[in-house]
Symmetry: C2
Subunit: 328 residues, 2 copies
DNA sequence: TCAAAGTGTGAAAACGATTTCATATCATTT
DNA sequence: AAATGATATGAAATCGTTTTCACACTTTGA
């Protein structure tokens, strides 16, 4: 393992000059520059990044907090972020919080101990009040999910609009009895429900609390929801699910019970994941342009760490789009 | 940002003593230990990890090279690795090579510049001969994929067995005309094909080169393969696909052409991904216990970086299992 | 012609931790 | 009572960079 000292010795110059060459500082003559370069190449020298960081403060690493990478939405998001980061010479540290407040908090130590330059929160477990103290150690931004009290940049979608256009679509199809599934009470869910309620209220419909389901996440949860619906005396004729997985579960279970989709029950998903176009019928869904969100969030973060942008309370909203297929 | 000096000052002790407390060294009296702890808590002190690393050499970070995180196999693998790493206080650096030799090589600089303690290669683009020189900077192991010339630990599955039992299953179902899809010529593919050939040869069948397809990766590739099969005068009656995505594509396209699966064409997948049990018919597949691979690979890597295990030429083989469903 | 500004270089001080070495105290053993 | 070993602490060296400061040499400008 060679150090800058070895290079300096070999080139017959000082460490300072070698360092200047490495960092492209002005005021180094061409011939010395070449000599240093030659010495570095011959030794196969690579600067020790811990030492660099100790001086620089910059780590060229960004931590990304997500709940679970196996969720296709998150893997696509992370994929886009990694690509963007790599293009700018940054590495991405993957932090699966597994929906644990404690784990999420642990990851903030990365910022405090200067192991990363910034944190992108693509899932949120703790309230802003507990996260806020960490902002003095480096920039933190939200991506997709967010805490409304936070005073930092939020790259996200207009989920109110998402809930609205999805529900509107079902109304336009003539449905008056529209059920609604959501996950936990995250910002995304809350806003999406606002959009749903706005659409039905506008249509002069009183939302039926029996048709509002909470904590629905997986394919199996979707299956269970169908069975609950099938058992109702007064069942909804359409269902807004908030995820393609849940939609898939509902549809599959409906079919095994002999229901026809969309005739007996119309179902709309969310995310436009691969599964949405594979199922029979293909699932009507709402496209989130996941890669755009990831790329934009990373872009914003890099601008912030490079001092080109302020991390103040700003919403960066990205578009969403309804994709009509056969399940509605 | 407080340093160890501030803590020492506040506690009225030396930096050395503070450092000893941080690192749980023996020979520190209980009262001083408490005093240091108190000072650290009051200041909210967290050691600067760059400085620690500069002395220690250890970074507590492992790089994981994969081709693309959006591939569900990889996201599950990475998920398991991250979980294992986090439990031992290690972070995981995600490196998407995007099937690029150059990108893969760039990531090895992480090892050279001491940014990670080791590298797990879960995809391989470069030959071992070009990777080998990096081994002097830190441990490199293979996971799932591998270069047969490599002299390091390989955590993987017996893919020969995988190809064999899958093909055997089709033979047992009475098929004599069995097609075979593979991706690129990776170690996994090569071994799996060996198993396929072993099974058919044992059954006294001459493999038909027209039914051997290469570079088949995606759902759409699967669709295309079906169309090629449908156009054949002498078409196979069964197909070993090597991935659930490809299997799904083949099956969907077969159905749109009015073929019955498995009656007109039996299809077997690989990986047991969620989609395998969602499609109609559900896909017969081979389970790779992906999480086990990831966990084991990380476990082995941590043992190596902690000096508890030698990184010599060893194969750690994990079990595989046929899951019979309705597509065969 | 001489000061000011621009260019090029190296010695040494930082960055923030860990570790070595030296030393001091205390408890045991002979 | 003296020698030994275990425990406890601090000063200073160290890790490998970057940066400041000081100095020297050139060029420019009035």
């Amino acid at each position: 393992m060679y150090t800058i000292k070895d290079v300096a010795l070999k080139a017959g110059l000082s460490q300072a000059t070698v360092s200047r060459v490495i960092n492209n500082h002005p005021y180094v003559s061409e011939d010395k520059k070449r000599a240093v370069q030659k010495a570095m190449d011959e030794l196969g020298f690579v600067p020790n990044s811990s030492a660099q960081r100790l001086r620089n403060i910059k780590t060229k690493k960004i931590a990304v907090l997500i709940s679970r990478i196996v969720n296709p939405f998150f893997s696509q998001l992370v994929d886009a972020m990694e690509q963007k980061a790599a293009r700018h010479g940054y590495q991405l540290i993957l932090c699966n919080t597994r929906i644990s407040r404690e784990k999420e908090l642990e990851y903030f130590q990365l910022l405090k101990s200067k192991q990363v330059d910034g944190i992108i929160m693509a899932s949120v477990e703790n309230d802003w009040s507990v996260i806020e103290p960490y902002t003095k150690y480096g920039p933190i931004i939200y991506c997709n999910e967010y805490d409304p009290n936070a005073s930092v940049t939020r790259v996200r979608l207009d989920q109110v609009e998402g809930g609205y256009i999805g529900t509107k679509h079902l109304l336009d199809k003539g449905h008056r009895k529209i059920g609604y599934c959501q996950g936990n009470d995250s910002s995304v869910s809350v806003n999406r429900r606002k959009g749903y309620l706005k659409a039905v209220t506008e249509a002069g419909i009183e939302p039926n609390p029996d048709w509002m389901f909470k904590n629905i996440f997986t394919i199996d949860d979707g299956r269970a929801i169908f069975r609950r619906i099938a058992d109702m005396n007064d069942a909804p004729t359409a269902l807004f699910t908030g995820s393609d997985e849940v939609a898939a579960g509902v549809i599959k279970e409906a079919q095994t019970h002999g229901w026809k989709v969309p005739d007996d029950l119309a179902v709309i998903g969310f995310d436009d994941q691969p599964i949405a176009s594979l199922l029979d019928p293909q699932i009507t869904t709402i496209n989130q342009f996941t890669s755009d969100i990831g790329e934009t969030a990373m872009k914003v973060m890099l601008e912030i760490v490079q001092g080109k942008r302020k991390n103040n309370s700003t919403d960066i909203l990205l578009p969403i789009q309804l994709i009509e297929r056969q399940s509605t």
